[in-house]
Amino acid sequence: MSDPTPALTLTAPDAIPRSAGVGLKPAHYRTILEQGPYMGWFEIHAENYMGAGGPPHRYLTAIRERYPLSIHGVGLSIGGERALDRQHLSRLADLIRRYRPGLFSEHLAWSTHATGFFNDLLPLPYTDETLNRVCRHIDQVQDVLGQRMLLENPSTYLHLADSTISEVQFLDAVSRRTGCGLLLDVNNVQVCATNHGFEAQAYLDAFPMHRVAEIHVAGHDPQRDDEGRPLLIDTHDRPATSGVWQLLEHTLALTGPLPVLIEWDNDIPPWSALFEESRKAQQLLDRHIQHPEAGHALAS
């Protein structure tokens, strides 16, 4: 009885290059394999590849043979009160053994409760209690997976009155205490800055950039809140706004080149449009490669 999916013969992960990558979508599998486009790397949502077999694994195996891969989890509920789901952690460990990603990241959010899995990234108050718990969870993840993970700043819509620590301080503390890296989503920064009324650039200036190992760029949907104020929804269904691109530039000026991912998860465009969006990110990255002295944060 043979398994027709040839096993990958990877012994070590391919590092994610400091270039533009895109989220891998089933609608683009064939185009990518037929055209072999110039693309630095791809990122997948871990949970979409937790079936036993079938076309998703077949395509991912073929693409992984040609490109570096990053795995982004959306269901671990690291920010939740409950103990982490051991079964889910072991599914992640299997996936990481199978595909040898250059990076693994998850969210500062919760999604699992005694009543079930909510399939959304829910906000947590930033307190000493949650800080200790998030650190314990991340220690456990890095222990089980046997590798460093990145933690992503969330997009949020509510002001949590119980928070006693700022988000930037919280992420910085988690990263220092656990050794995890950070994934900086500049669209989430823009979304939160608008929704909570702070300066996005000031958030970036305070962010511990030397711990950032990956950047996300995405589109959002402008709405209005209960009092008629702008409310941005993190939808990943359209190109990034010029404001988000400016935040990327601002960040790259502080960090120098880093892996930059275009996240486009809903209303998936044709491959050509997604590729175009990734070229915009690459052009910004190229400018910083030509001025390597800008990357002081990395050298520190």
Binding site: S111, Y157, E227
Partner: protein
Amino acid sequence: MPSQAEYEADFVQALRQPQTPPPAGVRHPGSQPPALRFGVYRNNVHVSLVEAVTRLYPVVQRLVGEAFFQAVARRFVGQVLPDSPVLIDYGETFPDFLDHFEPAARLPYLGDVARIEWAWHRAYHAQDQTPLPPQAVARIPPAQVGHLRLGLHPSLQVLESPWPALSIWHTNRHDAQVRRIDRDSGSEATLVCRPDMEVLVCAAPLGTAALVRTLSTGANLEQAATQAVEQPGFNLQTSLAVLLSSGGITAFRF
């Protein structure tokens, strides 16, 4: 300050009950309760899960129309949350939900049509295995066939319905203009298997489901056929030929 557990319990309560106001502690001092802001989370949860169910059951949606389907899916999602972050496993109980959904009682075959769609989804994500070629049985000496134990493909499923569920599924899945199917035209059995990249859905001869059920317990062909022969119209050769030609058999053992 409430503990994190209390905060989460209040948050979840408000997510699940649209009439519940947003939990305390999620507003700017002095502002109104942020119903629209909290609604973003409620909406994300609901819309994403309804979309997951909609992707799984396109034929059911075609049968009942989009508006009705969205209403049923919303009701389902309101009652059944995923029990793990692996959404590939979510929606398995939707066919049972349809069986008991009073407003759809006029379409008693709906649950069985949905079961074919779930079987398709399961086959799509099942473990890969190479099937035996259809001519493989020809190499077995006829006297020994009865002693064979079969390795069944991980994606193989055989479903029986008292309704013409396969005919209804087939025309609604493949035809721009659906064929008229007489719902009283009798029972049908459906075989679902994914021998390679494509999921195959075809008619199974009567008794195949019973045969496969018994074979999957490790019984040999003779024992399994004895069980299945109680089904009217069962013919071992016909059933075996369909199992082989659909790629449902991966190994012979004695």
